[in-house]
């Protein structure tokens, strides 16, 4: 027999968007149940791996330098959006971002003053003290204090939607299944990046070689349920954000520590021992965002970053020590590659390097001539042993496929109407603002803004 429980607002998911929704619904008078698929330690999905929000502000604050006006924020978004951005929703997020620091502080989230590691972003981004898991701990602590019920290891398996109206959700909790009836529901269950089967549908066998940077619990079944209930899809199913990560990273939850930024300081070769893209094209963050996709398109989805001892301390250290050898041939052997071919690629690259003034912090004039692909900046000969290598893989941060929402965070039906009591926020609606491209800190900002809107809306419906 299934038990049945009732509440005003049911929140599905346990990350930043979900907790913003839950707290705001509670503050607007609703009784709230949060259903989180993960066990307690892994609560908070990808949000527990994050570090910062992107925040519009027109005054210098204790934790943010200078100003970041709305127009500049929007321009930054347009620049990464590749021509496809929902202007109205983007503007809404930008404008509402200004109020987030205060509201989040009230939920117990603490901020970090600009320090060495965060200084370069301290004008546009606000850093949580201790990062995402510390933030999630604060969210949950406050939620418990305010009487929000939290269910861990509880997964929404099915939903009851009749004529666009939500009635209840079927939830598996441990070995039991129960039915939660609610007057309104907020879905904030993340993307589907951890669902390897789905990825395989769009990427073929390559999917088996991807590293999932975040939680293993974001499998997208809720997106599927909503689409089946008539919601409008949004975002291309093949679209994801991916970065270069250390090839030795765990399959799931390697988080921030597996990303590798050695790429611009040497060359990157694939299994054929060939270079395949301009390693010195651009700075972080653009470089950061494209290399995942580049590697995903290589044979077996692997690549190797090769550098020499001149540059070993020019980038953030990696969680795994690099492979090291006193000759390129030795290094190739350690990587399991053909020594002669790697040597030939390095020689050809070295011969193409032009003299220049190496400056890691600028688009310098160190470049190559006469090879394809070229290396446009930071090109120095790889000639000073010991030589180092890192295996690289594509690490998926999040997916863009989800459901369409309207300004008030209500899910839109295929016909264009909004579902009366169904709201969605976070990664599962990411495609509403940007179809591709990404701006550091925007995921959390968008999640918290729509989470708050959804929670408040859901509480209103429930009353």
């Amino acid at each position: 027999m299934t038990t049945s429980i009732a509440c005003d607002v049911l929140v599905v998911g346990g990350g930043n968007a979900a907790m913003a929704a839950a707290l705001s619904a509670r503050d607007h008078g609703a009784s709230v149940i949060v259903v989180e698929r993960a066990p307690r330690f892994y609560r908070g999905g990808n949000s527990r791996h994050t570090r910062d929000f992107r925040i519009m502000h027109t005054r210098t604050t204790e934790h943010m330098l200078d100003v970041y006006p709305p127009e500049e924020f929007l321009d930054d978004l347009r620049r990464v959006a590749g021509g496809e951005m929902d202007e109205e929703l983007a503007r809404l997020v930008v404008e509402r971002s200004e109020g987030l620091p205060m509201w989040l502080s009230q939920q117990g989230v603490r901020w970090q003053e600009p320090l060495s590691g965060t200084l370069h972003l301290a004008r546009t981004n606000l850093f949580m003290l201790g990062g995402g898991r510390a933030m999630m701990n604060a969210y949950y602590r406050t939620a418990e204090k305010k009487g929000i019920q939290i269910w861990y290891e509880a997964m929404v398996e099915d939903i009851e939607v009749t004529a666009g109206v939500f009635g209840g959700a079927q939830i598996r909790r441990g070995g039991e299944v129960c039915l939660v009836r609610a007057s309104a529901v907020v879905f904030a269950a993340g993307g589907y990046e951890a669902n390897i089967d789905w990825l395989r549908q769009h990427w073929g066998d390559a999917a088996d070689n991807f590293v999932i940077r975040g939680t293993r619990y974001n499998q997208g079944n809720v997106i599927d349920l909503l689409l089946a209930a008539g919601a409008t899809p949004i975002g291309h199913p093949r679209a994801f954000h991916a970065v270069a990560v250390d090839g030795r990273a765990p399959k799931f939850d390697g988080g921030i520590v597996t990303r590798l930024d050695s790429v611009p300081f040497g060359i990157v070769i694939n299994l054929d021992c060939e270079r395949f893209y301009d390693e010195g094209e651009d700075f972080w963050p653009k470089r950061y965002a494209i290399w995942g996709g580049l590697i995903a398109r290589q044979q077996e989805q692997v690549a190797y970053s090769i550098i020499d001892s001149k540059v070993i301390d020019k980038f953030m250290p990696s969680v795994f020590p690099p492979m090291m050898a006193h000759s390129i041939a030795d290094l190739a052997m350690q990587l399991g590659l053909d020594a002669d071919r790697v040597q030939a690629t390095v020689d050809a690259y070295n011969a193409a390097v032009q003299p220049g003034n190496f400056r890691p912090d600028a688009l310098d004039d160190c470049h190559t001539v006469g090879i394809d692909p070229p290396k446009s900046h930071w090109a120095q000969r790889i000639d000073t042993p010991p030589f180092y290598a890192y295996p690289l893989r594509a690490g998926i941060t999040f997916t863009y496929r989800g459901v369409r929402i309207q300004r008030d965070a209500r899910v839109q039906l295929v016909g264009g109407d909004a579902m009366g009591n169904v709201f969605a926020a976070g990664e599962m609606v990411a495609g509403n603002v940007l179809r591709r491209g990404y701006l550091a800190g925007f995921g959390l900002t968008m999640g918290a803004v729509f989470g708050r809107i959804a929670g408040e809306g859901a509480a209103r419906v429930a009353r």
Binding site: L129, G255, P317
Partner: protein
Amino acid sequence: MSHDELMEEGKRQMRVCNACRYCEGFCAVWRAIEWRRDVQDGDLAYFANLCHDCKECVFACPFAPPHEFGVNPPRLFASLRQASYRKYAWPGPFARALKGRSGYAWAAIGSVVLLCLISLVANGSLFGVRGAAFYAVLPESVLEVVFGMLAVWLICGWLVGAWRFWSDIRAVNSSTVQVRDILRAARYAMSLRYLGGSEDEPLSRSRKWFHHCVVYGFLLDFASTCLAAYDSHILHEEAPYPVGSPVVLLGIIGGAGLLVGCAGLLFVKVGMNRDTVDEGAYQSGRAFLWTMLLVAASGLLLLLLRSTTVMAEVLVIHLSFVAALFFTAPYSKFGHFVYRCLALVRYAEEERKHHSPGH
């Protein structure tokens, strides 16, 4: 875990931390880690003693156990601190024998026997004349020799330990320490700047205040002892002193501070999440707090009972606890302040260097 394994494990965890750096806003340890790319054994000892065990980091860490990266800095640093007390303490061979609970117990029992013997030899009978002054039980000169030797033992132990530790935590690029570094470190130490606590462990936030009670309580008792020596040798006034005298007043306030502080810290320990502690460090910390608590309690008891017939017994017990505390001091948790203060001095020097313009 052997010493080498511990060092390897420490370096592995630090590689995760150095690739993440989300904790940099919490405390000095994280900045010290960021200033190094390759971590050496000495660096680990430095981080460990810079850590005040507030535990903010482990509760914020997405890679803490059960994650396969198994990052657990409070436990790691506690194990490393234990290892450093063993490694740097002098004379080394005693370190193994005297660490932990049994060390205190043996030292205390030994002291009781010793003091009884002294009393026997001095008076011809155990504890001499009932109801008389302290020095009728134990001759002042003998006490001075015994405790003078203990003081020399303790100070030498700490000094040698300090010297060894300091030479080990010098990095290749360490510069000379300046007076302002020492002043800054003293400020950090006296205000317990880095002894925070974590909201995820509610009681831990009171540790700072209990610790203040212990330190300042101890210092008041120390002041009281010095004053007593002054009264006795310079002013030639013999103990015991009246309740209203500065010696006794300082002693009472200090003793009360120690009682409250030690009891509080012991209480906080009970509620600690055991996944984040090193069992050896936990036990030796507890043993130290108990010894300190017994010293304070027996001292206050002595004051209360000093004109009764059991004074002699209480006196011997109190002095035995003090002797045990001193004798084990170079190896016990007592010495942690030596290493921690030095780590803070190193940190203040590095902080100045990294914040100065042009760096």
